[in-house]
């Protein structure tokens, strides 16, 4: 855009080139302190609250999983999993984690539409999740597992991701953090921790549709090749076994011969042997050659560049003439 009405003079210099691939969401908290009614119980919340704050303060009629919700350290709301849908008298079914707590609003957790949405969306999360809990380092301390137990899910409608051909290789290339994208629910906490809290600019969301994944802003494929400093914040906030600290990735694997986290996937990116310390080679090189952080790619890519990546001709999207079935 040619207009120069907005500059980034107020932004700290380090954040200028961070490109997490996510939208610039508005602040969704309430403007003022509010009292809302949750399943008949009045709850008062402070300014800046969303409905989830009120819901977490009381015992609700039905369980509200809110899988992607974190609610600390300025991380979220991402509002992507939609397992926090509740019914309101004024606005119908809304996502509790990102809906402003408006004074006087009446919230019901057991309304059938909201309840159905939470159920189906939870199953949809599971449909794309490798549910091999018995080899997972987060078995027993996994928010998705906890939620599924609480939600009493026995047989998810759409199954789980158990086709070995569809698994993404395990990224075991870093000496400190292991990535298993087959367990990722795209809650985006790691991306926000990396960019908004640690201001490291390593992780990003990339791709679209069912190719959406967590990747690296430096356009590389593995953690070892990235600009990671091994701070570990991503692993701390990860709700599942997708980002796990090395050394405990098999901590909760059931003790049977042949059972490991790594062979549950069957393919992996390995460490090249070049990495010794917590900083990756790329990060070390960057630190010595460039005082300012540079993710390695043009982070504020122009719209033209974005279009170049898209090979579809004009109007292609209206044809829908893909191979089917």
């Amino acid at each position: 855009m040619s207009s120069e009405h907005h500059d980034t003079a107020d932004a700290p210099p380090l954040t200028e080139k961070i490109a997490p691939g996510t939208a610039s969401d508005p602040s969704t908290g309430s403007d003022a302190p509010a009292t809302v009614t949750v399943d008949g119980q009045e709850v008062s919340v402070t300014a800046g609250s969303t409905l989830i704050d009120a819901i977490e303060a009381v015992d609700t009629d039905e369980y509200v999983p809110a899988l992607c919700h974190y609610g600390r350290e300025g991380i979220g709301p991402r509002s992507e999993c939609r397992t926090c849908m509740v019914d309101t008298d004024a606005y119908g079914v809304v996502p509790a984690c990102s809906f402003p707590a408006e004074d006087g609003l009446r919230v019901e957790t057991d309304a059938s539409e909201a309840s159905q949405a939470r159920d189906v969306n939870f199953d949809l999360v599971l449909s794309n999740h490798n549910l091999r809990c018995t080899t997972c380092g987060k078995n027993g301390r996994c928010e998705l597992q906890d939620g599924a137990i609480e939600q009493e899910i026995e047989e998810p409608r759409y199954g789980v991701l158990d086709d070995r051909d569809e698994y993404e290789p395990l990224d075991d290339s870093s000496s400190f953090i292991q990535i298993d994208r087959n367990k990722c629910i795209l809650c985006n906490r790691c991306v926000e921790a990396c960019n908004d809290v640690q201001v490291e600019g390593v992780l990003r969301v990339e791709g679209s549709g069912n190719d959406t994944r967590i990747g690296f802003q430096s356009d590389v494929e593995t953690m070892e090749e990235s600009t990671c400093v091994s701070c570990g914040h991503c692993a701390t906030v990860c709700p599942t076994g997708s980002l796990v600290e090395k050394g405990i990735e098999d901590a909760t694997t059931i003790p049977l011969p042949g059972f490991t986290q790594k062979n549950s996937i069957g393919k992996s990116h390995e460490n090249t042997g070049k990495t010794k310390g917590p900083m990756t080679p790329k990060k070390r090189q960057q630190e010595t050659t460039e005082p300012q952080m540079d993710g390695g790619n043009d982070l504020v890519a122009s719209a033209d560049a974005a279009a170049t990546e898209d090979n579809s001709p004009t109007d292609n999207w209206d044809d829908g003439e893909s191979d089917w079935p």
Binding site: D25, P26, P77, C81, G209, N210, V300, A303, A305
Partner: protein, 494 residues
């Protein structure tokens, strides 16, 4: 020549849907020839119209050679009918709207909001002024008209809803306010900006004044080069433009038309995904400032309403699919889908229509009204695009393709859309293996509709949901290993 309708001498209009085509050099220097935009009826273009003293003759699908003949015949004789036209019509010599003749297929619909298309020179302020344009209505008049208008298209922040409440929020807000003209959408929006850009810009500029806006941004796809070029010319020709009008582009992707993704693209984000809300763009839009996002259709309706003192109750509908050539037709809201479909030639017997854009509803009933209430009642979409399917088409295959497209093209942010479209495509694929579970599809599409972040996910399940309701027998036949249309045969034999 300043005004094309003050015509003592013959004027030859060339209306051409192909922006890359240029006039033959032998005639391009002739000052009796003017290039106008598309009429919306692509099948008869290039269309040559010769006008003199209130008579216009029409030469549809006119070749360069024929155009040269017309030019020399008309210049020699001064007679508009000198070169054997396909049709002729008498009209008000001062008319600023395309006069519609009988016999060449231009009859369907009305020409009101689209009156300029194919008649006025797109970037001529004189033509627009002569048509009553460049009025500067006072803000209250703009708000009054906004109360009577609804936003058009899924790219409009006020899709199918009244405009005033959103405008009030922007007027009451603080900060630098922007009016985004969202032209990432369907053919109707491209037609307006390519053939009648001042109608759109007039609406945007008046709206900016009414809400205290600071700038207008026209947003379109990088690949709409003709639109970009025309808008650029129109902006520089716009008389006494009182605020900056910029042009911004986004990727040529379906999702890029969604209002919040449009803002992401304008801000320069390399990856587009929907924003959550509330608050919506009217309070936290472009760079967090109050922003309106309207389609060219909405703004052209507003602009034409200024001149009449009330909105024209029409809808622009593009008909495509199994047709000889697509057409964009302006249909009175009292009309039906049939009125729009009359503008095209089907390439077979009519079987079904997908009504409402990429994720339209499937129906075999063309007697449904085109106003949003009637369309919604019939579970169809209001996007203004009707995709026709001829009898050799398989509905199961069609909705399968649309659903798979949704699974590949969604932004990837929310679970009901990202995972829901994938599962829905799988459920449709399962039909071929004998497993047809309509209730599971209904449950899934319901949840996609109630819990997706943006309209992409809300609407993505509509093709499957409506097809299952309207063409149940076809799904059952596929589950039994038969494709009634015969187009899924190979797969079923495997």
């Amino acid at each position: 020549m300043t005004v094309t309708n003050a015509n003592r001498e013959p004027i030859i209009r060339v209306s051409d849907s192909g922006p890359d085509r240029s006039l033959p050099t032998s005639v391009s220097t002739s000052d009796t020839i003017v290039e106008v935009g598309s009429t919306g009826f692509t099948t008869i273009e290039p269309l040559v119209m010769v006008t003199r003293n209130g008579t216009t003759s029409f030469y549809p699908q006119c070749s360069s050679a024929k155009l040269e003949d017309i030019v020399s015949a008309v210049n020699e004789t001064g007679d508009v009918t000198a070169a054997e036209p396909d049709a002729t019509v008498d009209h008000d010599p001062e008319t600023s709207q395309l006069p519609v003749p009988e016999g060449i297929g231009l009859e369907p619909g009305v020409r009101d909001v689209t009156g300029a298309c194919g008649w006025r020179r797109p970037t001529s302020p004189a033509d627009h002024k002569a048509a009553g344009g460049f009025v500067e209505p006072d803000p209250e008049a703009v708000f009054d008209l906004g109360d009577q208008l609804r936003g058009r298209g899924w790219g409009d922040l006020c899709h199918d809803s009244s405009l005033t409440e959103t405008w009030e929020a922007v007027r009451a807000g603080d900060g630098e306010k922007t009016i985004v003209v969202n032209a990432q959408g369907p053919d109707a929006d491209k037609l307006l900006l390519g053939s009648a850009p001042f109608e759109v810009l007039d609406g945007a500029v008046a709206l900016a004044h009414a809400v205290g806006g600071d700038q207008v941004v026209v947003y379109t796809s990088t690949e709409n080069r003709h639109t970009i070029e025309t808008v650029r010319e129109a902006v520089s020709a716009y008389p006494d433009l009182s605020l900056p009008v910029d042009i911004a582009t986004g990727p040529a992707e379906h999702r890029a038309a969604e209002p919040t993704m449009a803002l992401e693209a304008i801000e320069g984000n390399h990856r587009l995904e929907a924003r959550i809300g509330p608050p919506g763009p009217e309070s936290a839009g472009l760079h967090g400032q109050p922003t309106l996002v309207h389609t060219p259709r909405t703004l052209a309706h507003l602009s034409v309403a200024f001149r009449h003192g009330e909105p024209r109750n029409t809808r622009m509908v593009t008909v495509r699919g199994d047709v000889e050539a697509p057409a964009t037709v302006e249909v009175p809201e009292t009309g039906t889908l049939k009125t729009a479909v009359d503008a095209v030639k089907l390439t077979g017997e009519f079987k079904a229509a997908s009504v409402g854009g990429q994720f339209g509803g499937i129906t075999d009933d063309l007697d449904i009204g085109v106003d949003p209430a009637a369309l919604s009642e019939a579970n169809l979409g209001t996007e203004g695009v009707v995709h026709l399917l001829a009898d050799e088409r398989c509905v199961v295959k069609f909705v399968g393709q649309r659903t798979r497209y949704a699974a590949e093209e969604n932004c990837g942010r929310c679970v009901p859309c990202r995972e829901g479209t994938t599962q829905l495509a799988d459920l449709l694929r399962d039909v071929y293996d004998g497993t047809y579970e309509p209730s599971k599809m209904r449950e899934l599409t319901t949840v996609m509709e109630t819990s997706s972040i943006c309209a992409f996910g809300v609407e993505a399940g509509r093709p499957a949901r409506t097809a299952v309701a309207e063409f149940e027998a076809e799904f059952e036949a596929h589950a039994d290993g038969r494709c009634p249309a015969g187009s899924c045969l190979e797969t079923l034999e495997v």
